[in-house]
Symmetry: C2
Subunit: 112 residues, 2 copies
Amino acid sequence: MSKQAAGCCTPISVAALDEATATEGAAVFKALSDPIRLRLMSIIASAGAEVCVCDITPHFNVSGPTISHHLRVLREAGLVDCERRGTWVYYWPLPDRQQWLSSLLSVPAPTH
Amino acid sequence: MSKQAAGCCTPISVAALDEATATEGAAVFKALSDPIRLRLMSIIASAGAEVCVCDITPHFNVSGPTISHHLRVLREAGLVDCERRGTWVYYWPLPDRQQWLSSLLSVPAPTH
DNA sequence: GCACTAAGTTGATATTCATCTAAACAGCGA
DNA sequence: TCGCTGTTTAGATGAATATCAACTTAGTGC
């Protein structure tokens, strides 16, 4: 509640990261380092509900396997999860990881 | 000042990104997607002052040119800037870009 | 079982990227 | 000017990655 970001970690503006945390954080940032994946993440995160892959694919000009590949990267980064229900597969966001990155990058207000 | 992150943009959890913003955001995330660069960023951001390259390099097990390359990537992403003064080059953080990413990823508190 | 649809996996290819060595550039002091 | 140190640039190489076509897997309904 202090400044922002629910303090689940020490922001990089406050203390330098140790090697292990940097490696872990970089892996998650890498998952968001592709325009398609960042849009995928934003579509899933902003949906407010599970999203069917069949509703996602038409937004992009790439093939189905490519979307599938990018969704897998997001999943392996811990940013989303999914479940098959019948013919369709639904994705939803895992806010913890996303919030963690946000906290890492948060810039404390200057103490003036 | 409401929930967090100084509201300089609409978080991805609130609305899906358009293609141009996703491309721009992904480029900045890519700059942070390498463990060395993320540590570099955290060292510079947490220093509270300009940091000399000569004080940065010893923290890493890679060659000088590699550090220089990574610093350039951070600079081209708009996350840091630098200036040569005499023999040494000093780097400092540009908090705006960092804060922008933090805001993008911020997860609004559930309205309970 | 068979046909059909949705999604993921495999394998191949072209591009990008991290790293190094060698060289160049910038500044300082003798 | 010459040598020395700190930093960046250039070029080369091996690894990682984004993408697609072809195929496989999972599920539905006839």
